[in-house]
Amino acid sequence: MSGTDNFESVVKERRTEAVAEFHEDKTLIKRFQHALHTTPALVPMIVLIVSIILFGLLIGNRFFSAGSLTLILQQVQLVGIVAAAQTLVILTAGIDLSVGAITVLSSVIMGQFVFRYGLPVPLAILCGLGVGGILGSLNGWLVAVMKLPPFIVTLGTWQIILATNFLYSANETIRSQEIQAEAPLLQFFANTFKIGADENGRGGATFTYGVIFMILLVIVLAYALRQTAWGRHVYAVGDDPDAAQLSGVNVRGTLISVYALSGLICAFAGWALIGRIGSVSPTSGAELNIQSITAVVIGGISLFGGRGSIVGALFGALIVGVFSLGLRLLGADAQWTFFFIGVLIIVAVAVDQWIRKVAA
């Protein structure tokens, strides 16, 4: 080794010494930023609690009662379920614009297979769930294998699925009474149980099976995302797909599984949709796309992928529900709800950008 001065040899001996310790900035703001970085659902949780308290103070018992609060849950159940599906896709840095269409088509298939072809109800439901899963897989295949941008893919399948829905159903609605009489299982998610109601079954907290399903779904997905390898892979793919591929993640398989699962969850939402509105209507559920994306964004999940938690999306959906009901009880114009939701979306994205700075 000619020509090099031995400048490196001085560091050869000392092995035990501590290198590169972290001198963490302990100011309150920094700590808060760090807490948000590790627990991204914190912001929507705080916003949710504050808004419940605020509307509770403004409106009083009419709002702050078990009945009203569980009514909010019932009103957000569909958005909550679909937002769970949307969360999975957005975590992979994708987007699913076909969620609303898959939801409606699945509900139409469940209804028509019973009333048009006379299939046994459970079989018709299975068919609806199957179609949802297949349509989701199709999205996944186009994104992961054909390498098309998720936005374009689902923009296309959204139109295709929605058109199929109208063509197939011939725009026909299956009425609630018929379903109740002949296929009550289709309205399964409308079943309720009450806690603390009086003898006439009034007041108290009312939970529909749809609400229970939404909560269980979020719990199961939260577990899968945090505690299983599949969940870690979903985050890794959303974070940096090339790095994930090189470090041994099956990127293609993970993406397809996410879109397929999203489709399946939307099909469940389609079943819950029948419970919610009673009938099977091909024109329902149109607003689920934008509502689910709104819930996800307010829930602190980054549209750039890889960051956020599914519990946040549930909080996001609940925040929208609290604002809708609260403002209605206050007698405000419904447009104020949209106004505030718009503000919340922008604040949420700003907070996301701020949290990312912790890395810099």
């Binding site: 560091v11 505690q227 890794a236 790095a243 470090s247 041994g248």
Partner: protein, 260 residues
């Protein structure tokens, strides 16, 4: 040479559109040696090791591991065969923790039903292992093995990537510029680690632009030029200026191979 190469590449070709990144390239790695690969920017060094590690599939050519022909189409396949790689880009997920990153794609699950039915990760076991490996490397005192990789400095990230490769590599370890972002002290640690791995009998491919480091640790130096192997030299027979002259094309080597 009487010994068979543990890893052998013959006639490797990789084209990116009109760019020929690998042009009929040969490659040999012998058991227990440290082989340095040097060459200009864009010479095709990274492409060569990616072809070996399954990250890119060569258009033509064959690769033999311990005399048997292998065709890796995914990095996981090369990993399963015992070839571990630190890529130039490090290949880490910034938002995930150090432990998550170390075990990406080979996560440990809890024993019993929790693992087999509920697929639950064995976080404590993975964290303990990750902490041990980082301490072994002595590269850093990580306060929290669960901190996100993006909160680490560039050098610390590189340290984690090297630790990951050293921990899991059983047949061959490939390092693509592992000290590029490291400070003097940290580079030293990585060089020590490389010698350490070698003493365990595992051969290493080291890509580096740092000639003093290359000449210090390498047993042989593969000079890469314009997508192919120009020559293989032994550091004791050449100066650093020779090596630089060969790799930049300023001088043509006398022979392709040197005997010790």
């Amino acid at each position: 040479m009487a010994v068979e190469p543990i890893l052998k590449g013959r006639g490797l070709v990789k084209r990116y559109g009109k760019v020929v990144a690998l042009d009929n390239c040969d490659f040999d790695l012998y058991p227990g040696e440290i082989l340095a690969v040097i060459g200009d920017n864009g010479a095709g060094k990274s492409t060569l090791i990616k072809a070996i590690s399954g990250a890119v599939v060569p258009d033509e050519g064959e690769i033999f591991l311990e005399g048997r022909k292998v065709q890796f189409t995914k990095p996981t396949e090369a990993r399963a065969a015992g070839i571990e790689t630190v890529y130039q880009t490090l290949a880490m997920s910034p938002a995930l923790s150090i432990a998550d990153n170390m075990f990406m794609g080979r996560e440990l699950r809890k024993p019993g039903v929790l693992g087999s039915v509920f697929r639950q990760l064995d976080r404590p076991r993975m964290e303990k292992f990750a902490r041990e490996k980082l301490t072994e490397l002595g590269l850093m005192t990580i306060q929290n093995i669960n901190q996100a990789v993006e909160t680490l400095s560039g050098g610390q990230r590189q340290g984690v990537a090297v630790a990951r490769a050293a921990a899991f590599g059983s047949k061959v370890i490939i390092l693509d510029e592992p000290t590029a972002a490291l400070g003097v002290k940290e580079s030293r640690r990585v060089l020590e680690l490389i010698l350490d791995v070698k003493s365990r009998g595992i051969p290493i491919i080291l890509i580096s632009h740092n000639m003093p480091h290359v000449f210090e640790v390498a047993d042989r130096i593969h000079v890469h030029r314009l997508g192919r192997r120009l020559c293989v030299i032994r550091p004791q027979n050449h100066t650093m200026s020779d090596a630089v002259a060969y790799m930049t094309g300023a001088r043509v080597p006398d022979t392709e191979f040197e005997t010790a």
